[in-house]
């Protein structure tokens, strides 16, 4: 089987800008809204 660590080494490496954006307050405030909208959509679409 393919060694998973070879696969990890070939996986996309986020740029410094991407990593910083993951903890950037203005960006993440918007993403917080977006994530919650997605969760609401899942709830409305098929929550049993």
């Amino acid at each position: 089987m393919t060694d998973v660590n070879t696969s990890i080494a070939a996986a996309p490496m986020p740029t410094e800008k991407t990593v910083k954006s993951r903890t950037s307050l203005p960006t993440q405030m918007m993403r917080f809204g977006a994530i919650n909208l997605r969760m609401v959509k899942i709830i409305l679409k098929g929550h049993g």
């Binding site: 998973v4 660590n5 696969s7 996986a11 996309p12 950037s24 307050l25 969760m39 929550h47």
Partner: protein, 484 residues
């Protein structure tokens, strides 16, 4: 007057009990039987396991909540179900054995009109010699286990601060485990804490999993659409492992654990030994191992329960190969086919098969993640069973409500590090939980609703859900408007 007994007070059982009490008139009885005096919001045990939350932040006593709501509370565990009555009982009943210190060891027969089995898992550490808190590894399955894990992790970090290299192993301790998402959360929370402690260069962090590939999560992986590309959860997850410098051993079954050494086998049949200084390995689950008897006292356990100890419900249990698995195999009402007044929800129901492709090593070792059925789906099942019972009490011919995992979506917020400013989490949604390749050819799921992103916003969301769901579980005003 009807009497409903709920076995278990986890997400599924507690949700069912609260909805039953809210919707049934006071002349009907609702009783809960659970061996634990405390409710535990299990998703936050991850943060207890790295010392970022205390046990008291993730648990609270159940008795005052049930007293306030008018729910009868028995601190006991279910031993046997008698769905036809017998032994002097005209009605069905469940035998319970008390864990309540005031009644320790005594037993009772609780009669019911409807029974909801939400007993959750038996943590089967015994399946792997040396696994678990009584062996040589730690766990985060309960708040007390997580507290012990945090103490052991702190010792490892202290050793690194002394300049000692440490090997940290996090993952699952058997080839048939579920909850890979929890192991994923814990490995990245541990990595985060070690990095925050300034000793990351002294830690070799290894993720040991039964998933054939990373990003499987026991749901056969997902496909996310991002920035104009379809990305597999495998690539997405591997990217995080690369960024955070975490090694992995995939497709692994742990045969045994000895002090400081994990012995495992992989899907290609090779075996290995992994030395460790700190190891958190989750156990496999099995059902609560209750028995069932008919009116004459004959053992009907095999008719009511699957060999795994989970209860048979309205699923299609016909054995068939992966290629023939269908969305319709999955249960929707969670009623026992043998006794329609008997339900099993959450982890307690027997799934028809895995979701991920099951695999065997050349040596015949089964390495197949079991399907996750915790969190959001668990709560939905509990509420659905409660709604069906409420309708059946009003009209015995009422149609059962349905909530198949093949027709419901789920949101999973997997923490990757704690902290209001520096925390991150992988926020994922999927629709449906069980892929339906007939309805969604190719990926099995809706491309619009299956999605993942990593960031601080995910951490804020998981934190918000922690407080929201504890508020809901405490049945505070308006609790029922918070969705499961």
């Amino acid at each position: 007057m009807a009497r409903v007994v709920v076995l278990g007070a986890g997400v599924a059982g507690h949700t069912a009990a609260l909805h039953l009490r809210r919707k049934l008139a006071k002349n009907h009885d609702v009783a809960v039987v659970t061996p634990n005096a405390q409710y535990n919001w299990i998703p936050s045990n991850i943060w207890v396991g790295v010392g970022k939350m205390s046990t008291t932040q993730v648990t609270f006593p159940l008795a005052p909540i049930y007293a306030k709501k008018g729910i009868e509370f028995h601190q006991a565990h279910g031993v046997a179900i008698h769905p036809e009555g017998g032994d002097g009982h005209m009605k069905p009943f469940v035998e319970v054995s008390y864990t309540d210190p005031a009644k320790q060891g005594s037993t009772a027969a609780l009669e019911y009109d409807y029974l909801v089995n939400a007993t959750g898992p038996k943590l089967n550490f015994g399946a792997t010699p040396g696994l678990g808190p009584d062996g040589y590894t730690v766990s985060v399955c309960t708040a007390s286990h997580a507290t012990e894990a945090a103490e052991k992790l702190a010792e490892a970090i202290t050793a690194m601060k002394r300049g000692e290299k440490q090997t940290i192993v996090v993952g699952v301790g058997h080839g048939t485990c579920t909850c890979e998402g929890a192991a994923f959360e814990y490995v990245f929370n541990v990595e985060h804490e070690i990095r925050q402690a300034g000793v990351r260069d002294l830690a070799d962090i290894v993720y040991l999993t039964n998933e054939a590939q990373l990003g499987d999560f026991g749901v056969d992986g997902m496909t996310f659409t991002q920035q104009g590309f379809q990305t597999s959860s495998k690539t997405w997850t591997e990217s995080l492992f690369r960024e955070r410098g975490v090694r992995a051993i995939a497709g692994a079954h742990v045969h045994r654990v000895e002090p400081g050494v994990v012995h495992y086998e992989q899907l290609d049949g090779t075996t290995g030994e992994l030395r460790y200084d700190f190891a958190m390995l989750l156990p496999p689950f099995r059902g609560a191992d209750m028995k069932a008897y008919d009116a004459s006292g004959a053992d009907i356990t095999d008719a009511v329960f699957a060999p795994s100890g989970f209860m048979k419900v309205d699923a299609d249990y016909t054995p068939k190969p992966y290629e023939e698995w269908r969305a319709e195999d999955w249960p929707s009402t969670y009623q026992s086919p043998a006794y329609p007044n008997l339900f099993a929800v959450g982890i307690a129901f027997a799934p028809p098969h895995q979701i991920s492709r099951p695999q065997k090593s050349p040596n015949g070792t089964i390495i197949a993640p079991a399907p996750p059925r915790t969190g959001m789906p668990s709560g939905i099942m509990g509420r659905t069973a409660a709604e069906t019972i409420v309708d059946m009490i009003k009209n015995p011919d009422a149609h059962a409500h349905s909530a198949s995992m093949a027709h419901m979506g789920a949101a999973c917020i997997a923490s990757a590090g704690h902290g209001l400013r520096e925390g991150t989490a992988a926020a994922m949604t999927m629709f449906p939980v069980v892929p339906d390749y007939q309805k969604y050819p190719g990926t099995g799921r809706s491309a619009k609703d299956t999605y993942g992103e990593i960031g601080l916003a995910g951490h804020w969301t998981k934190t918000m859900l922690h407080y929201l769901f504890i508020y809901k579980a405490k049945a505070k005003p308006g609790w029922f408007v918070i969705p499961e």
